[in-house]
């Protein structure tokens, strides 16, 4: 799903060395977290 890809891309970016003071983008406001499981 789109959400997972976005997270994966962000994670990969995080592996790239960042300049000092870099602030990762905030998580998307929605949809929210899954509390149990996704069907």
């Amino acid at each position: 799903s789109v959400t997972k890809r976005a997270v994966a891309e962000a994670a990969q970016h995080d592996k790239v060395p960042r300049p000092v003071g870099f602030v990762p983008p905030p998580p998307p406001p929605c949809p929210g977290k899954i509390r149990h499981f996704d069907i």
């Binding site: 406001p29 929605c30 949809p31 929210g32 977290k33 509390r35 149990h36 499981f37 996704d38 069907i39």
Partner: protein, 252 residues
């Protein structure tokens, strides 16, 4: 320079979760069939200001069915969400709330519930029992046999079937029908019912004894039947002045 609009509310913000909690409690409190649902995910939230301290909030919620029937006195926090292997049922709800002077109230709600697909369950658990239709012949036989068996042994009131809540059939390692159903106590004892079951009436709602039964019947050469019924002892009163979701709309 006009002030920048406030940042949109995130789905996991405390304010969103508070609104979702009010919505889920409303949905469970106004549903009279099936089971209580618990929040699984806040899909979306939109806040439309109406004026000072007055907002309309639109929520899209993903819920999951719990093991507690809606008539159960058990608090939602103590109700276990049905696991994936139990053939989970999901609820999709759109809820409209008003937040007036900090107080949240539900204006309208609309829910659709659907079971996970058989393919999904079988892929993860090939031999797990699967949900079947509530008017499946084997299901009706099992409910009838279980209730008759219970009434033949009970020293309490004669119980009458109110609603079949859930039914699953497993074929391996043995052909097993598992059912869950809601019962109501009548004004007869089991002995009196044997004499004239037609005279047994459900107790008036204000003193009704609702109960919940689980039963399973193993078919085949070594047929066996097991049932367990729990009476609640009180009923969830219908809140005065509350209008329900119009008949015909999916609520369960």
């Amino acid at each position: 320079v006009p002030a920048a609009p406030p940042a949109p509310l995130g789905c996991d913000d405390p304010e969103s979760e508070a609104a979702a909690e009010v919505a889920v409690n409303y949905i469970n409190g106004h549903s009279h069939h099936g089971y209580k649902f618990a929040l699984n995910r806040i899909e979306d939230i939109r806040v439309v200001p109406q004026g000072p301290n007055n907002d309309i909030i639109f929520l899209e919620l993903d819920l999951l069915e719990t093991r507690c029937p809606v008539l159960s006195p058990t608090p939602l926090a103590n109700c276990t969400v049905r696991s994936f292997a139990e053939h989970a049922v999901e609820g999709d709800c759109d809820v409209k709330l008003q937040k007036l002077d900090g107080t949240l109230s539900v204006l309208a709600s609309k829910c659709h519930s659907h079971a996970d697909s058989n393919e999904d369950v079988v892929r993860v658990c090939p031999d797990c029992p699967l949900l079947v239709s509530l008017n499946n012949t084997e299901v009706l036989e099992t409910v009838s046999a279980a209730l008759n068996d219970y009434n033949s042994k009970t020293t309490g009131p004669y119980l009458r079937l109110l609603e079949i809540g859930r039914a699953r059939i497993q074929y391996y390692p043995s052909h097993t029908v598992a059912v869950e159903f809601v019962v109501g106590a009548t004004n007869c004892t089991a002995e009196e019912a044997k004499a004239d079951v037609g005279a047994c009436q459900l107790l008036p709602e204000d003193q009704s004894n609702f109960g919940f039964c689980t039963a399973s019947m193993v078919k085949g050469p070594s047929q066996s039947l097991r049932e367990d019924c729990q009476l609640y002892g009180h009923q969830v009163p219908t809140p005065p002045g509350v209008t329900y979701i119009h008949p015909g709309q999916d609520t369960s």
